[in-house]
Symmetry: C2
Subunit: 195 residues, 2 copies
Amino acid sequence: MSSENIDTRTKILQATVRSLEQSGGRGARMGDIAKESGISRQAVYLHFESRADLLTQAFLYLGDQLDVDGRLAPSRAAATGQERLERYIEFWGNFLPEIYGVAKALMMARDTDEAAAAAWKDRMEAMRHGCRAAIGALHADGALAEEWTRSKATDAFFAMLQVPNWEYLTQECGWSKKEYIRRMSVLAKRSFVAG
Amino acid sequence: MSSENIDTRTKILQATVRSLEQSGGRGARMGDIAKESGISRQAVYLHFESRADLLTQAFLYLGDQLDVDGRLAPSRAAATGQERLERYIEFWGNFLPEIYGVAKALMMARDTDEAAAAAWKDRMEAMRHGCRAAIGALHADGALAEEWTRSKATDAFFAMLQVPNWEYLTQECGWSKKEYIRRMSVLAKRSFVAG
DNA sequence: CGTGTCAATTGACACAGTGTCAAGTGATAA
DNA sequence: TTATCACTTGACACTGTGTCAATTGACACG
């Protein structure tokens, strides 16, 4: 299900990413993706079990392409908790626009598909780890505001960064990528950093 | 389309609300709603143009039932900006669980339906007015933190209160209604109140 | 050269859910 | 008794996902 003829499989994954990016969050049908891949719709099903499977694989594929670890390095290397928080938001603000099309499609598929829900949850769990680490660093500095426990601050911080928030702020409110990063940093700093 | 035989129409609206509440955000089909109403699926279409129309009307109907204005009174009557902010979050934290089923269905319908998107946007615009008023009151007190303009603070405050955030915090993180209200108040206070 | 294998194609089909259409029913009112 | 009105019934079109079976075309091996 996974290794035969890497080429076509990859072609489909790339076409999926392209289609979903072009759609700007509006989604793409199996037929659209097949056309974009230059193969028949049925051939897609030779490589992926279902639409949910395809979206999941495309999401993972894109993650690999975009070198998440490398992009997270500045946050991990930060000297202080506060800097770590800021670098994390910076990472996220730059990363999210690049995965948005695929992420949105996967998010939407959650509503009708178990597997998509599980895949999304798994990825978001990884994201949440980053949030927890940043909050943890803040706490280690003794700089986590006293109203918060590490766990609850992680909940709130992660909630702040959710896709629908970003969607609202950038698409409805017209915040630019830079503004999103700047203001979310202010928000997080005021919310979680003591003093 | 709107006034003939109020009874059946109302019966359908109530059944819609009931179905969507019971589903806990998972949605309901036209057939389910018809069954719940005790009429035929086709009869629903005698009263509502489409699923999107039905969801929209059900959302408005529910809003009427729940006396939004009355519930907002404490916020409007608040003596200080900060209290207004807090009362607003309290209103929202108590209100949202009651409209969640219907709200979620309408939100989901946005993705495929123009009319649903417009209806949702319209309702959220009203919500946003409340946020703006609270932020405005804070500003009038000279208590809006200097990092924010009224407009940008409204964007951020409203984003904080979005349905998916609440969904995440209460359903994934297990925050109770009370905890949601308390912590969101802390969050908003730290984020927007000067000093 | 023939044969088998394997990826992909083609076209038909099942299924769910929304929405439409036309004919029919049954009660109420003129 | 006849017309009207709300509703029912059942059939059907449409979209999109997913399945199935038969076929094509390329490449590899004896």
